[in-house]
Symmetry: C2
Subunit: 282 residues, 2 copies
């Protein structure tokens, strides 16, 4: 099942057409989005997701999102969801119709089932390749017009990177900067475990601040882990005790293979961290 609601609260048929061909979200990838995990009727990390939506919107000079309206529409979708216990909730916010003098954004929330591939990735882990993102780690601060770190609808590169991973026999990607810095996955953040410490790179290098990564870190700290947000180098990935991708719908996913080489088994660390993450919502 799927549930679609527009920001004004109107429920709509997700199989019908609702968007004009000249919506700038479509014509120019000119808009922002979020994907929230809903589990047992509760949206996880909704506050950080809505904060990040507002941050992305600001980076794109979109009108400030109406936070209360977004909270209401999230509730509307959840209240109308009669599917399984967990689902993905997408929030989409575009610049609206090209040339509209009133500049009304297009805004909707949609509940979607979680695909089998995602469920499998959660339990089995994933093979990942590193791919050059072609940018320096200081670029985001130097050139804000490149929208690095905005969750924009212009995700064509991210999708192309996943297809490249597929060609290389993997299913996901870790982007690296020109100096070898670890950036992020196309739809995830990188988390590395070494001893009892978790690491993730800082958002200032031009990546999305991770909502799930932050939740994992909170849960892990509670379970006695140390957490550090600091630059990581691609050379450090293979030698870690555990390498993970954090994303809302896939939660914390174990990377079992990196650039074609099997990594040391991190199943136990993964189980502990996955439990620490779930404990945040217990």
């Amino acid at each position: 099942m799927r549930v679609l609601a527009f920001l004004d609260g109107t429920l709509a048929d997700p199989d019908a057409a609702h968007i004009r061909v000249d919506d700038l979200g479509l014509m120019r990838g000119d808009g922002v989005f979020e994907t929230v995990l809903v589990a047992d009727g509760k949206p996880r990390e909704l506050r950080p997701h809505l904060d990040r939506l507002a941050r992305s919107a600001s980076m794109l000079d979109l009108p400030e999102p109406d936070d209360e309206a977004w909270q209401r529409v999230v509730r509307t979708v959840i209240d109308n969801w009669t599917g399984g216990g967990e689902f993905a909730l997408k929030l989409v916010y575009t610049r609206g119709i090209e040339g509209d003098p009133e500049a009304r954004p297009t805004a909707y929330a949609m509940g979607l089932p979680i695909g089998e591939k995602v469920i499998r990735a959660r339990t089995e882990g994933v093979a990942v390749v590193t791919l050059d993102r072609g940018i320096a780690p200081d670029l985001a601060e130097r050139a804000p017009w490149l929208l690095l770190g905005a969750k924009s609808l212009s995700y064509g590169i991210n999708m192309a990177a996943v297809r490249e991973a597929d060609r290389r026999g993997a299913s996901d990607v870790i982007f690296t900067a020109t100096d070898g810095s670890v950036l992020e996955g196309p739809t995830s953040n990188v988390v590395l475990a070494r001893g009892r410490t978790l690491y993730t790179p800082p958002a200032t290098i031009g990546i999305l601040p991770g909502t799930t990564q932050a939740a994992v870190f909170r849960g892990a700290e509670h379970a006695g882990w140390t957490t550090k947000i600091e630059p990581l180098h691609a050379d450090e990935l293979a030698g870690a005790d555990g390498l993970f991708l954090a994303s809302s719908v896939r939660k914390l996913t174990r990377v079992h293979t990196l650039d074609g080489k099997a990594l040391p088994d991190s199943s136990e660390i993964h189980a502990e961290l996955a439990a620490a993450y779930e404990s945040v919502y217990a």
Copy 2:
């Protein structure tokens, strides 16, 4: 007026909704497009535009566009256009609905009037700022997953760059590479005149091969100019005899101001080159 036709030839109301919220063109900027100038009922550079559409589609691993169907739908829009003598014709081709097992692309052509701002730019020229695109000139060949040189729907950066230009009191942008190489405009190619020679950078550095730039070059060669496709450095821009942006709808636009400094008057060169360009279609 506007005319909308889908690739199967169906005419549709451009003010109605035709696109689903889960179209990947919208959700992920996952698709390609072209903008063709139609003048006196004839599409200009249609062959190069359709070739480029196919090239972009291939870079995004989209199904090969049905060339004859695109030619037909272009004809359909033109035949139904009752507006002025010149209009913009957009071709849009997306990956279609997420999860569609038949993977049918969304494909349409739309005729749109040419805005006043464009008409003004054609006659008065534009103020331009150079902005760092943050990439090395060899990146496109090294990292095809970055889709450099594909005309994809993920144009968020290009739109953000134009807003940055606006903040700096200009109306357009010339992107530069990390080594100072001249790349392209967000929706145009850079053409530089020095003596009786025209220059534009090669597409291999990760930019779109220009349909209008190529037409200008053909016309100019016919009028006795030499043309060269070779790397240009940002330092060369201000000292040229003429600096221009070439794009389908704006044609050859004179840059009168670069990074806040007035450039030498290139009106005469512009008039000659504009005439040479028009002569291609005479």
